[in-house]
């Protein structure tokens, strides 16, 4: 304990040099900017800025790059709330209720709660990383393929809870997402699946293209159908700061989301994503009136935002202690470290203490900077909604297009986004929601991979999923969740049937 504090003190000494502070701020600013610009996520940005960091000290470089990473978490929720475009898998759920709040003229509430929740969660996550990081990382190592499979099952069941309307349609959308997620090269055999002979599809459909198409582009098309004046309710837009009541109702959600995110963030491979929508599912289950969810419930923003930001902090632990990337962004971080001559792995803490503790200290500083940057920006973003929609939609379309282009420097993903814009628009008309689809899309490939891997290792014995404590626990939680989702739906169905017979 005392030792950790002294090491952390040493870390602060590293992180608080003027140069490191400057680059931390620079990273946080860039991160916020690219988080806000739809399409251009942290992956594209870090790869673009990576060469520029070669001139810096390794610690400085990694501090700046991580600033971009968690800055983008803050900024990403802004776009999700304002224009219904989730930039990363973790902000898909933020878009659901956040955007509804913005349309109702409560963008200020949603943005401020997202920022405050992210800040508290980020600080808590950093504390956990500092005090328990290495030992939790060892525990996470025990989490193997069968456990991951069960985690994905839990995630998919949580995805059903995301649905506002019909459970049947939500399940169908999950399956559609699963199917789309199968496109690309099969890891087990190397066979190309449903790629229509296009090599661009061999790595699968890019998340940015599908998310922007289904959410952003489809939303723009729908908004352009009628009069553009009524898209955002401007009557309440004057108020920017959330009232005390709003803060109070979000408090519990922030705490629960933070805990979920902190725990799941340690799991490389889908942990953060599952955390953010488990948090949503949990809030919806706990709410006295779950029907508010999907129509602008502040807890639906607070919980997932807290979860994804604490997960963002703890996901550095598997990276630094095992060299295991938890996401594409983290994979880039590994690249950045290796190019600076630091091999991420078990030796980093002992060999490069200034890097490990400096980075952790910079997370505290960075989160503080981000809340200072973001809270005043809330006013600015809210005013952005006052830009007439006939101009705003041009901004969304143009910046999205460039953003998608920059993901792989090729127009191919734009064509994909066009296709998904069409699909998303048609699905909206058919009362099918895009969020469960996207969840199936993200979790499906991981689920299949871990299932097949478990079966190979267990030599075809399906009992493996019930024999491991982690896996069994997750399956039991999934069953309970499934029952609580299914019961009300079945009850409602029976009522519907009866009412129709009358």
């Amino acid at each position: 304990m005392v030792e950790v504090l002294s090491l952390l003190g040493h870390g602060f000494a590293v992180a608080a040099t003027p140069e490191n502070l400057l680059f931390c701020l620079f990273g946080a600013l860039i991160g916020t900017l690219i988080g806000v610009l739809p399409g251009l996520g942290p992956v594209a940005t870090i790869s673009l800025l990576l060469p520029a960091t070669f001139a810096l000290e390794p610690v400085t470089a990694i501090i700046m790059l991580s600033g971009i990473f968690y800055g983008a978490q803050y900024g990403g929720s802004t776009t999700a709330i304002l224009v219904n475009i989730p930039g990363e898998s973790t902000s898909v759920v933020t878009a659901i209720d956040g955007y509804k709040l913005a349309q109702a003229g409560r963008a200020g509430d949603a943005l401020a709660i997202a920022a405050i929740g992210s800040f508290l969660a980020g600080v808590f996550g950093s504390i956990v990383v500092a005090f328990a990081g290495p030992s939790l990382a060892r525990l996470a190592r025990e989490f193997q393929s069968p456990d991951y499979f069960s985690l994905m099952v839990l995630g998919l069941i949580a995805a059903i809870v995301l649905a506002k309307g019909s459970v049947f349609r939500a399940v169908a959308m999950i399956f559609l997402g699963l199917l789309l997620g199968m496109i690309g090269m099969d890891v087990n055999t190397g066979a190309s699946r449903m790629t229509f002979g296009l090599i661009e599809l061999s790595d699968g459909i890019s998340f940015v293209a599908i998310a922007l198409g289904l959410f952003g582009i489809a939303e723009v098309i729908q908004n352009l159908e009628g009069s553009l004046a009524r898209i955002v309710n401007r009557s309440k837009i004057e108020r920017i700061w959330p009232s005390w009541d709003v803060l109070k109702s979000a408090r519990g959600a922030v705490m629960r989301g933070t805990l979920l995110g902190t725990v799941f963030g340690f799991l490389p491979g889908g942990g953060a994503t599952v955390a953010s929508f488990s948090a949503y599912a949990l809030e919806k289950r706990l709410a006295k009136d779950p029907s508010r969810f999907g129509h602008g419930a502040i807890e639906g923003v607070a919980g997932p935002e807290a979860a994804n930001n604490s997960a963002a902090q703890t996901s550095f632990v598997p990276l630094l202690t095992m060299g295991l990337p938890t996401s594409a962004t983290m994979a880039l971080m590994i690249g950045a470290l290796t190019m600076h001559g630091i091999a991420p792995g078990p030796m980093v803490i002992t060999r490069q203490p200034e890097l490990f503790w400096g980075l952790i200290a910079s997370m505290f500083i960075g989160n503080l900077m981000l809340i200072v940057i973001n809270l005043p920006m809330v006013g600015l973003w809210v005013r952005l909604l006052a830009v007439p929609y006939r101009l705003l939609f041009l901004i969304i379309l143009v910046i999205s297009s460039i953003g998608i282009y920059s993901v792989s420097n090729s127009p191919f993903d734009i064509y994909l986004a066009i296709a998904f814009g069409l699909l998303g628009y048609v699905l909206r008309k058919l009362d099918c929601e895009p969020a469960p689809l996207l969840m199936g899309f993200i979790l499906g490939p991981m689920m299949e991979e871990n299932f097949r891997r478990s079966m190979i290792i267990s030599r075809g014995d399906p009992l493996v999923f019930f024999q491991r404590p982690f896996s069994l626990t997750l399956i039991l939680i999934s069953v309970v969740l499934l029952v609580t989702v299914a019961l009300p739906a079945i009850k409602r169905k029976r009522e519907e049937v009866f009412s129709e017979e009358e």
Binding site: L50, R141, S202, D203, I456
Partner: protein, 319 residues
Amino acid sequence: MKVAAGFILGASLVLSPALARAEWPEKPITLVVPYAAGGYTDAVGRITARFMETALKQTVVVENRAGGGGIVGSDLVSKSKPDGYTLCMCSVGAISIAPIAQKTEYDPVKSFSPISIVSTIPQTVIVNPSLPIKSMDELVTYAREHPGELNFGSSGAGGLMFFSVALFQSLTNTEMVHVPFGGGAPATAAVVAGEVDLSFTNMTDALPQMEANNVRALAVTSAERSPFAADLPTVSETVAKGYNVESWNAVMAPAGTPDEIVQKVSSVLQEMAKDKDVVAAMANIGAQTVFTKPEEFSQRIAGEVAQWDKLLTEIGVKK
């Protein structure tokens, strides 16, 4: 006014076709890296681009065109204009293996003008330390006594991590179970956690785990020992004579690139292999800096293609 006129005159001179043909390179060169930024090949690409920039006194832009395990970017270069302004930081997977295992529109020998290999990196045979296996001989003995029991991790069915073990099994008459992971790092972590028993892991990924005693290293896969782990024997000197799997990165140009340009780049890369800074930067990422003449390189590709063609036909994964 005069300044403007001079400027226009100057610009038209620079753009005039007579001068354009005179000296390569007279405009920025694009070095396509067919993998994502931040990856291993990207690092090699950027180190190379930086050296070429100073040597040629011309900007060299690194462009990442990731996808399909390097196929997308390599394909793009093979179809580019052979004018020396689009080069590729190609790698063994997309050049020597993919065209046999999958469908590619390019031919590893005919579609490119190979220039030089710039760096190589061997794989390391690592096993989980709880296994009673301390040498390559013991590994082969154990695998023969327990056929189909050992699990090996790989980065996926199309990757070098899988093919190197497949070749090993074929040469040593052993049979192990393939457990694919989504990448080299998770496969290595699975050896550490004991989820799989062994893997043939890139030196870069293996070194930190070896230093922490999380895994036991048995051998390297290259023909010669690696300077990064000099006490490790090679697979070839222990159990499988002639076994040689090495990941390489090389500068290649589209087929039909003028010979003067190929020779000029080749001489720059020859200089680069002697440059202390470059060697040190490559060592940082676990790579060894090398140089090969274009003809040698051509022959090497042809040899590798033959080796993998034979293996892939044997194990039945040829396209």
